[in-house]
C-alpha cells in the first residue's frame, strides 16, 4: 500500500508542521500512525494516550481539522490522497507538539460547580432516586462524559470568549442540576448563567456533532437556559 504522508504539528504555540512518511496498513488508526512516528521515526515527538481502546479520551487531537479520539479514528475514514494532518486540540495552550495543557478545561469544570455536594450524612437514610424519574433520565442522558476535551476544542464560543465555561463544564453542571441530592443548586445556577455560561451558547452544535460518546451538551445547555430563566423569573437567581 502507498505510504501515508503525515503532517504533524511540532513545537508549542509557535511551531510548524513537519511531514513524515508512515507505512500504511489495513485497519490502522491515527493513534497507530502517531505512535509509529514517535517509536520509529522521531522519538522527540510528544503526544498523549492511555487506554488506546476508546475509554479514556486521552488521545484526543485535531485530525484534518476536526477534534477526534485518534485511537478510534481509522485512517481509512479520514485520509485524503494518502495525506493526514495531526495537530493538538484547539482552544487549549500547547505544551509541546500534540500535548495540550488541560488545566483551564478542568478549572472551568470546577467553576461551573461540576462536582457533587450533598447535604446528607452517614447517619441519614439513603436517598431513593428512581432511574425512571424525569430528572434522573435527564441526568443519565448526559452523565457519560469522560472529560476528553473534544467538545471544548470544537466550540467556536470557547475560541471567541475567553471566560466561556464551555460545553463539557456546562453539560456536567446540567447533570448535577438534575441531581435532587445535590445541595448547591442555587449557587450552581448563578455560576452557569450569563455571558460566561449557558447564555453564550449559540447552538452551533459542534460539540454535539463531535462528541465521541454521542452526548449533546447543546441539550444540557438549553436545559440550563430554561432552569436559569425560571429561577430569575422567580427572583431566586
Amino acid at each position: 500500500m502507498t505510504p501515508l504522508r503525515v503532517r504533524v504539528w511540532r513545537g508549542g504555540a509557535q511551531g510548524a508542521f513537519r511531514e513524515y512518511e508512515v507505512p500504511r496498513h489495513e485497519s490502522q488508526t491515527v493513534l497507530d500512525v502517531v505512535t509509529h512516528i514517535q517509536r520509529a521515526l522521531d522519538p522527540s515527538l510528544a503526544y498523549r494516550y492511555a487506554c488506546r481502546v476508546g475509554m479514556c479520551g486521552s488521545c484526543a487531537m485535531t485530525v484534518n481539522g476536526a477534534p477526534r479520539w485518534t485511537c478510534r479514528t481509522h485512517v481509512d475514514k479520514v485520509v485524503k490522497n494518502d495525506r493526514l494532518e495531526v495537530a493538538p486540540l484547539k482552544n487549549l495552550p500547547v505544551i509541546r507538539d500534540l500535548v495540550t495543557d488541560m488545566r483551564e478545561f478542568f478549572d472551568k469544570w470546577a467553576r461551573a460547580k461540576g462536582q457533587f455536594k450533598g447535604a446528607a450524612t452517614r447517619k441519614d437514610e439513603f436517598a431513593r432516586i428512581s432511574p425512571a424519574g424525569e430528572r434522573r433520565k435527564l441526568a443519565d442522558a448526559s452523565i457519560e462524559c469522560i472529560g476528553c476535551g473534544v467538545c471544548y476544542a470544537a466550540c467556536d464560543v470557547v475560541a471567541w470568549t475567553a471566560g466561556y465555561l464551555g460545553p463539557a463544564a456546562l453539560n456536567r453542571a446540567w447533570t448535577l442540576v438534575n441531581d435532587e441530592r445535590d445541595a448547591q443548586q442555587a449557587a450552581r445556577l448563578r455560576t452557569v448563567a450569563g455571558d460566561a455560561g449557558c447564555h453564550s451558547c449559540h447552538t452551533h452544535m459542534s460539540c454535539t456533532e463531535r462528541c465521541p460518546k454521542q452526548l449533546s451538551p447543546t441539550a444540557g445547555i438549553a436545559g440550563l437556559k430554561r432552569a436559569v430563566a425560571a429561577a430569575a423569573l422567580k427572583g431566586e437567581l
Binding site: V157, W160, T161, A193, G194, H199, H202, A232
Partner: protein, 112 residues
C-alpha cells in the same frame, strides 16, 4: 453586567423573538402581496393611512425590534470585535433609542 442582568437580556431576546416571529411572517406575506399586486407608493399609503389595526401591529413590531436587534448585536460585538463592558452596553442602548425613534416616526408616517 451582572448574571441576573444577562439572564434578563436572554429572556427579553427570546420573548421579543417570539413576538417578531409572528410579526415577520405577517410582514413577509404582506411584501409578497404588495409586490404581486404591483402596488404603487400612493396605493400602499392609501391602504395604510388611518388604519388603526396596522398602526398597532407595526408599533408592536418596532418595539420588539428595538429590544431584539441590540441584544443580538451585543453578542456579535463581544465575540467578533472583542468589545465588552459598559461602553458596549451604552452604545447599544443608544442604538435601541435610535431604532425606536426612527421606527415610530416611520410607523406614524405610514399608518397615522
Amino acid at each position: 453586567m451582572s448574571v441576573r442582568g444577562e439572564t434578563r437580556l436572554w429572556i427579553a431576546q427570546r420573548a421579543s423573538a417570539a413576538v417578531l416571529a409572528l410579526c415577520v411572517i405577517v410582514h413577509l406575506v404582506t411584501i409578497v402581496y404588495a409586490v404581486r399586486g404591483d402596488l404603487s407608493g400612493a396605493e400602499i399609503l392609501a391602504r395604510t393611512r388611518g388604519n388603526a389595526a396596522w398602526l398597532a401591529f407595526y408599533t408592536l413590531f418596532v418595539l420588539a425590534v428595538t429590544v431584539h436587534a441590540p441584544i443580538g448585536l451585543r453578542a456579535v460585538l463581544g465575540e467578533w470585535l472583542g468589545w465588552r463592558g459598559r461602553s458596549r452596553d451604552l452604545a447599544l442602548l443608544a442604538f435601541a433609542m435610535l431604532l425606536a425613534v426612527m421606527g415610530m416616526r416611520a410607523v406614524f408616517t405610514v399608518f397615522a
